[in-house]
């Protein structure tokens, strides 16, 4: 099976201290499927998303490995070529809908700019497309919304706009980096349903970064569990929730709040488990601190 996104043996480190951020990560994502990237803060989930989109912070350098997007190795092309490739084929749904939108510009141009600048569309075509996608994410009166500023909209509406913007260029791959963490539960449900629906309708591959296993069980087909930049379990959602293979995965699942079964949930990850998994991924304390990774 050929995958739309194929990451092979990707390792990355911080340029200054040499701290390892990713350790030989393998991820494959077939067209039209959804993979969850889960792990604690600092595990490297966002870092993978950033690597795929070519927006790693300057201080992070890729040591080895390849990222194949639609068969093309992103490391082997020039930066300009890489931008064009990624811009045409991939998009991001960011975490915080407030900081992701420019507060001093109207909504409309924030959606159309990318279509005009990177894909070379005419302004009229871009505007027409923006109206179309805004309607698709159930935004009422898209013409009026296009003229508003971000502060005039609620958090849920802003997140819808970012989703519309991500889908505007009909990308084949979308990286969603904790898209609902800033929203409350009822809005989260609407937004997740919307993302799943659009993903299925357009056959988009989705890389879904989250720390919430509840969300993974609703949205994803497969998942990779990360610890200290290493994939410790790569499995399907059905198998994972039926019987996680790795002790760390089970501990993570037991830590997740579960209102239907309060007594067996919210169990902190035991020390033995973190020690064992740390030994397994060969973490020496000088290069990695638990829970203290690079802030996205």
């Amino acid at each position: 099976m050929s995958s739309f996104l194929e990451i092979r043996g990707l390792s990355a480190r911080l340029a200054g201290t040499g701290q390892r951020l990713l350790r030989s990560v393998d991820i494959s994502l077939p067209a039209g499927s959804v993979r969850g990237l889960v792990g604690e803060s600092g595990a490297g989930k966002s870092m993978i998303g950033k690597a795929v989109l070519g927006v790693l912070p300057k201080a992070v350098e890729i040591i080895e490995g390849e990222i194949l997007l639609d068969g093309q190795d992103l490391q082997k092309v020039s930066p300009g070529e890489r931008r064009r490739l990624i811009g045409a084929k991939a998009a991001l749904i960011p975490q915080d809908p407030l900081t992701a939108l420019n507060p001093s510009r109207r909504i409309g141009p924030q959606i159309t700019d990318r279509l005009v600048d990177i894909l070379g569309w005419t302004k009229a075509r871009a505007a027409a497309r923006a109206l179309e996608v805004l309607a698709e994410v159930s935004i009422p009166e898209p013409e009026r919304i296009m003229r508003l500023y971000p502060h005039e909209l609620s958090g849920g509406m802003r997140q819808r706009i970012l989703i519309a913007s991500a889908f505007a260029a009909e990308p084949k791959l979308i990286v969603a980096d904790e898209p609902t963490t800033a929203l409350d539960v009822t809005v989260q449900k609407q937004i997740l349903k919307l993302i799943s629906e659009l993903q299925a309708r357009h056959g988009t591959a989705l890389l879904f970064v989250t720390h919430d296993l509840g969300v993974v069980s609703k949205v994803c087909d497969t998942l990779s569990v990360l610890y200290a930049g290493k994939v410790v379990e790569d499995t399907t959602v059905e198998r994972f929730f039926a019987a996680p293979q790795h002790a760390y995965s089970s501990a993570l699942l037991a830590a997740t709040p579960r209102h239907t079964d309060p007594s067996s949930s919210l169990k902190p990850v035991p020390r033995e488990v973190t020690d064992a998994v740390a030994a397994e991924v060969a973490v020496d304390d000088t290069t990695w601190r638990p829970n203290g990774g690079v802030r996205g």
Binding site: S41, G155, T186, K193, S217, P257, H259, L266, P268
Partner: protein, 263 residues
């Protein structure tokens, strides 16, 4: 000592709606809390849930008198504190503490952990109460010399808790204290809170938008929507037999970690 640490009757809070303020004249009032009544028995853990904009944070800030209500009564240990002046509030402050949502912005980046915990105590950093408080929240005493940026999110939130319990309060308000943490630190902080409440005989009001967290921790839950209480029930009853449609909507929206349960 009154049996109920808080008795709140017909609590109202309104603010000036500046988006509709005319150029001259005063802005119209916008009601945030529309006459809320409930009690918090001593030793209870009360959950306060609601969507964004439901008024849960405003309610919390009013309880600890960071905001003044515009109407109603609010008895703390039998004394009406709804309109007490800052000076009259001062002696009560140590008995009412708060833990904040964002552990990073609620800690002064230029103070060590020790000085942060010592500040409300008016104590020196070598005061034994600081080491005790840190120990209580499961941090080694030598963390007192560290700065907030040297700590993880979960550890920072523990410092916030240590600062609150060092005062030996009777009542603690915890406003969305785990929403910024990942699952494993979330579980640690909640379990810590559960132990502390039992050990120190605290009364806790726990504000959250996530009902799955409430279930484990709280004995009673009030559900807020648009500034009104729509349901006030024992936790067990609320989860097993939710009475109000809004409560059911909140429950349905929880992403249960189980792929067989479809939305």
């Amino acid at each position: 000592m009154a049996d109920n640490i808080f008795e709140v009757a017909d609590l109202r809070v309104d603010v000036a709606d500046m988006t509709r303020k005319p150029l001259f004249g005063s802005a119209p009032r916008l009601e945030i809390l529309k006459g809320i009544s409930f009690t918090i028995p001593r030793g209870a853990v009360l959950g306060i849930v609601g969507g964004s904009g439901s008024g849960k944070t405003t309610l919390g800030r009013t309880l600890v008198r960071l905001a003044e209500p515009s109407g109603g009564r609010m008895l703390f240990d039998g004394q009406d504190i709804a309109h007490l002046s800052d000076a009259a509030m001062q002696p009560l402050r140590p008995r009412i503490q708060m833990i904040f949502q964002d552990p990073l912005s609620s800690l002064n980046p230029r103070l060590t952990v020790g000085r942060t915990v010592a500040a409300p105590l008016n104590a020196r950093t070598n005061d034994p109460r600081i080491g005790q408080a840190l120990e209580h929240v499961g941090l080694p005493a030598d963390f007192a010399r560290r700065y907030p940026h040297e700590l993880s999110g979960g550890q920072r939130q523990r410092v916030g808790i240590a600062r609150a319990i060092a005062m030996r309060p009777e009542f603690i308000l915890a406003d969305e204290i785990v929403s910024g943490l990942d699952v494993s630190s979330q579980a640690q902080v909640l379990m810590l809170l559960e132990t502390l409440v039992a050990e120190l005989g605290l009364t806790l009001a726990f504000i959250s938008h996530d009902l799955s967290v409430i279930r484990r921790l709280c004995s009673r839950v009030i559900v807020l929507r648009a500034g009104e209480i729509v349901e006030d029930a024992a936790t067990e009853d609320l989860f097993e037999r939710p009475q109000h449609a809004y409560t059911r909507e909140l429950l349905d929206a929880i992403p249960t970690p189980d792929p067989s349960v479809r939305w």
